[in-house]
């Protein structure tokens, strides 16, 4: 668990981060979203003390981060940034081994870890271990960057616009990978982005920042249905808010018993996908199945439409 307790950062007279309190539950993804200059990156960088807070405390699992030497603190926290920051003079394997080596892991353990991480990110170890960053595609570089951040099995992973430099299709895949890896490892993730769709897709909870302050914290549905102020509602979109709302809710939440014809939808699909499938097929209802294909019931057009309404 990460607790930010009345954290402030001033440069001269200007408060870049102004009295922010925020709690990130263990094993969840918190997305901090805001326009450029909102202080979101500074807030993130205070968690691993790349920026020292002017005021306030930051606790990780109850321990004040100010009590640890900076480099020790950082070795226990994964860090991935836009443009990946891979060491150009080190191979993929050496890059991933950076923190484990700093922590003086056994060589065998490091090697094992490298192969496991490469495999987890769909990078064939035999092919990629000895490549240099410049020999990789943008998407591969980004995956290695995240793998490197996760190398020493950190309980916390900080990500600063990690997918900002990727094209839409690769970004989509990278987000999917991150969700899968996070679910499997149970890492606590704090991710900074300016992209609201990314925030809704990835965040268990989303914090909206502007002018150094947190305007609202809540689940994506909270932000869509009960925006705290005009700024948040403008940021979450006005025209397609209903569609956004559908896209953050899973089919599983509106399954009702009963039969339906047609190809089954997975329970993890979003209601937006369900609506699309319903419109496309012209059916009033479609069957829903779980990951193993076992039928769970059906989703009706009326149920989907009801979910897109505020309240």
């Amino acid at each position: 668990m990460i607790e930010l307790d009345h954290v402030t950062k001033r440069y001269g007279d200007a408060a870049v981060v102004d009295d922010v309190s925020l709690t990130v539950e263990r094993g969840t993804i918190m997305v901090i979203v805001g326009t450029s200059g909102s202080g979101k990156s500074t807030l993130l960088r205070m968690i691993n003390r790349l920026v020292a807070p002017t005021k306030g405390r930051i606790l990780i699992d109850g321990r004040d981060t100010a009590g640890l030497p900076e480099h020790d603190l950082r070795r226990g926290i994964g860090y991935a940034i836009q443009g990946h920051g891979l060491f150009p003079h080190r191979t993929v394997a050496e890059n991933i081994a950076t923190v484990p080596r700093l922590l003086k892991w056994e060589k065998d353990r490091v090697d094992e870890r490298i192969d496991a991480l490469l495999a987890a990110f769909a990078l064939e170890p035999g092919l990629f271990r000895d490549k240099y960053p410049h020999q990789l595609s943008g998407g591969e570089q980004q995956r290695v960057g995240v793998a490197r951040a996760l190398a020493a099995d950190p309980a916390v992973l900080l990500m600063d616009e990690p997918f900002g430099a990727l094209d839409p299709i690769i970004r989509d895949k990278a987000q999917e990978d991150l969700l899968a890896v996070q679910r499997r490892l149970g890492t606590t993730v704090v991710l900074v982005t300016h992209d609201m769709d990314e925030a809704f897709r990835l965040g268990h909870r989303v914090a909206v920042m502007a002018d150094g302050r947190v305007r609202q914290v809540g689940t994506p549905a909270d932000l869509l249905t009960r925006p705290a102020d005009a700024f948040v509602s403008r940021l979450t979109g006005t025209n397609d808010r209903a569609l956004k709302l559908l896209s953050v809710r899973p089919v599983g939440s509106v399954v009702s018993p009963g039969p339906a014809d047609g190809p089954p939808l997975p329970e993890t699909a979003s209601l937006r996908d369900a609506l699309s499938a319903l419109l496309w097929s012209g059916a009033r209802a479609l069957p829903v199945a779980d990951a193993s294909g076992r039928p769970l019931g059906r989703v009706t057009l009326d149920a989907v439409l009801a979910s897109g309404r505020v309240g």
Binding site: N48, L50, E70, H71, D72, L73, R74, R75, G76, I77, Y79, A80, I81, Q82, G83, H84, G85, L86, F87, P88, H89, T91, T98, V99, L102, D130, Y132, G145, R148, A149, L158
Partner: protein
């Protein structure tokens, strides 16, 4: 590439032969002399002069490299930040000090001989290496430094494991340039009685013997070209070794 290598080997062989047995080359230089003046410099062994010349350059360049790289690292750390603007300004105007002037001004401090030459070569050699150290450290991408810091590398680890390796090619280019310039500049040291190949050229100038001037100049020029190419090849080999290391 093959032809160039063969050419260089031939040049090395020719230089070695000339330094070992200059008398064999008497017929080549004889047409340049007048009134039966000697065609080959014999007051001192050309080989020994070359060794003394290169020794002076090596000592000065080594000291300049150590000091310049150290200073370059220092002013690029937070602790040395106060010194950065002046360092840049000095780098910018430092080359305007002609080597002759530096040499002449060193004489009152340390007297005649090799010492003022060493000082002048050292001071003159500092600038390109310092400049390249700064440039090399500055071109390390910000994202790389940020992630190094974020992963918990200490300041020292960042310097040794990330910044210096990435700046190395630029620093080595500065050293190479500095050494080559020093080989030429060291000849001027002979005007303040330093031992070196300049002696041969001065003897030629004072006695109007073009053969001496030419052989002194050629040995210096050929040595400089060969050392330049040698250092370049060594740099490339080191980079290639690093890049292919698993």
């Amino acid at each position: 590439m093959r032809v160039a290598t063969a050419l260089r080997l031939a040049l090395v062989a020719l230089l070695a032969a000339f330094l070992a047995a200059p008398d064999w080359f008497e017929p080549v230089f004889a047409p340049l002399t007048e009134n039966g003046a000697p065609a080959i410099y014999r007051q001192a062994s050309l080989l020994q002069l070359t060794i003394a010349h290169l020794g002076t350059v090596a000592v000065a360049s080594l000291a300049a490299t150590v000091v310049a790289v150290g200073l370059g690292i220092f002013v690029s750390r937070p602790a040395g930040a106060d010194f950065l603007p002046l360092s840049r300004a000095i780098v910018n105007v430092g080359q305007t000090f002609p080597p002759v002037a530096v040499l002449a001004l060193a004489v009152p401090a340390v007297g005649f001989g090799t010492a003022p030459t060493l000082i002048a070569l050292f001071l003159y050699g500092l600038l390109p290496i310092f400049e390249n150290t700064l440039a090399g450290l500055r071109q390390v991408p910000a994202a790389v430094l940020d992630s190094a810091r974020g992963m918990g590398l200490t300041g020292r680890q960042r310097l040794v494991e990330v910044e210096l390796p990435l700046a190395l090619p630029v620093i080595l280019a500065g050293v190479r340039y500095s050494v080559v310039v020093s080989i030429g500049t060291a000849t001027i040291g002979s005007t303040v009685a330093a031992r070196g190949l300049g002696e041969v050229i001065i003897a030629g100038l004072t006695s109007g013997n073009t053969a001496f001037v030419l052989q002194g100049g050629l040995v210096v020029g050929v040595t400089a070209v060969l050392i330049h190419d040698g250092l370049l090849a060594a740099e490339r080999r080191a980079m290639a070794a690093r890049a292919s290391k698993a």
